[in-house]
């Protein structure tokens, strides 16, 4: 009996010690985020290959499904696809024209540089394991030039930020995570604020005063002021605006533009590529514009 009691006392004392240790670690890692990354890098190198294997198996199963079972009715599909290709060819030509027109207009507006995002494309291979944080694991790491703090984007908008990197994998904290924050502004009214995650599929736009007009459906874009996300990337749209009495700020909900649950490929922004437009090119564009006007 005495052995049992002493064993229980030992467990209680040890648990208390480890609990204190946990609290100290939590406090320390909250102040020094780099501390949390010490073990993460090694952990990813061990765990992520399993994710890659499952991802590969999933892709293979899908390709077998589409390559074999869907062969039924392939002839009619083929015809439909041919028609679609010719339709898309027409659309592509039109889009090419729009792009050129856009480039010309940018030059005429005296933009002296054309910014393009330079980055590394990565596949999402796993989710944050505990289910309590909003994060994903991608299959590109330090060897591909990925560094902690880099922005992660998708054609539809902002995804998140790299918080830990191992040689071959990276951990991306999604913008919907409650510890995430992005400096943003509304596209039309240029109202600035900080988009913070709430752990669900939406975010909240914070620090916007009651006097500032924010409407439902306003597009929210990055302001570029946080030094992480390049300016002008779409974050989402305002889905709810509530003004409570007794507070100075508005409660604004932002629906994220990217479907983060169905994320497959992302672009890790390693830098911005600047391509200065030559002065002669701008002048010739201006000239051709004037000539066009005269003809009209």
């Amino acid at each position: 009996m005495s052995t049992g009691v002493s064993e229980r006392k030992k467990i209680a004392a040890l648990s208390f010690g480890l609990l204190c240790c946990s609290l100290l670690l939590t406090a320390y890692s909250a102040r020094h985020p780099s501390f949390a990354r010490i073990g993460t890098s090694t952990l990813f190198e061990i765990v992520a290959p399993l994710h890659t294997a499952v991802d590969f198996a999933e892709d293979s199963t899908r390709s077998v499904w589409s390559g074999y079972f869907r062969l039924v009715g392939v002839a009619s599909d083929n015809e439909k696809l041919r028609a679609r290709i010719s339709e898309l060819d027409g659309e592509r030509g039109l889009l090419e024209e729009f792009k050129r027109e856009n480039d010309r207009l940018r030059a005429l507006l005296d933009l002296n540089s054309v910014s393009q995002l330079r980055g590394v494309a990565a596949n999402v291979i796993g989710d944050e394991p505990s289910g309590w944080g909003q994060g994903v694991i991608v299959n590109k790491g330090g060897l591909m030039g990925v560094r902690v703090g880099m922005a992660v984007v998708h054609p539809k908008g902002v995804v998140g930020q790299v918080v830990a990197v191992s040689p071959n994998y990276s951990h991306v904290l999604l913008i919907t995570d409650h510890s995430s924050g992005v400096d943003v502004m509304t596209q039309d009214s240029r109202v600035r604020g900080v988009v913070e995650g709430v752990g669900a599929d939406h975010c909240e736009l914070r620090y916007v005063s009651k006097q500032t007009p924010v409407r439902l459906g306003d597009t929210v874009v990055t302001s570029g002021m946080d030094g992480v996300f390049p300016k002008g990337l779409i974050v989402g749209a305002v889905s709810k605006v509530a003004v409570e009495t007794g507070t100075l700020l508005q409660n604004i909900e932002v629906k994220v533009s990217v479907d983060l649950d169905k994320l497959e490929e992302v672009l890790i922004v390693t830098g911005e590529q600047h391509q200065p437009v030559k002065v002669e090119e701008t002048q010739s564009l201006v000239k051709s514009g004037k000539q066009g006007k005269r003809r009209e």
């Binding site: 467990i11 909250a30 994710h51 944050e128």
Partner: protein, 171 residues
Amino acid sequence: MAKALVSLLYALLAIALQGIFGHLGLADRFIPQFLVIFVVYLSFAEANAFGCIMSFVVGLLLDFSSAVLVGPWAGSFVLVFCILALLSRRLFIDSVLAAMVITFASVACANVLFSLFGDEYPVLTWDYPQKVLGQALSTALVSPLIFGVLSRRWRRVSGAYAGRGNSVSAV
């Protein structure tokens, strides 16, 4: 040493599985917490200093996997282990139902403790109880199966079963 290695291997596999389930489209609130099952198992099979330290270590691994804060999961796992280990003479998980009920309570407890330990998850939302109870339920449903697997592996590593008598062997 062998037990520590098996524990680490199980923890890594559990972390990978939890991440894979999420990636395959299973909602966060239904992803089983395999690591909590392991902590529950340890509290019955290894209600001693080793079990306590291993609970802390597997919690740390889960903390590292989130790359944000180190400590909240470790702390909550240690507390869950401590409570169960102290009660392990009165509690038995020798039936499937008992195993499920104890696991359900442990996961709910671990999740709430995790939120208290520094996670900023908004607890005053409808999403929070859904997540806590959803994870607890899904984990409870798979727990008898995992207990069975763990029990066999643990006995093999220990040479002969030297845990706490009949408490986990029947599951």
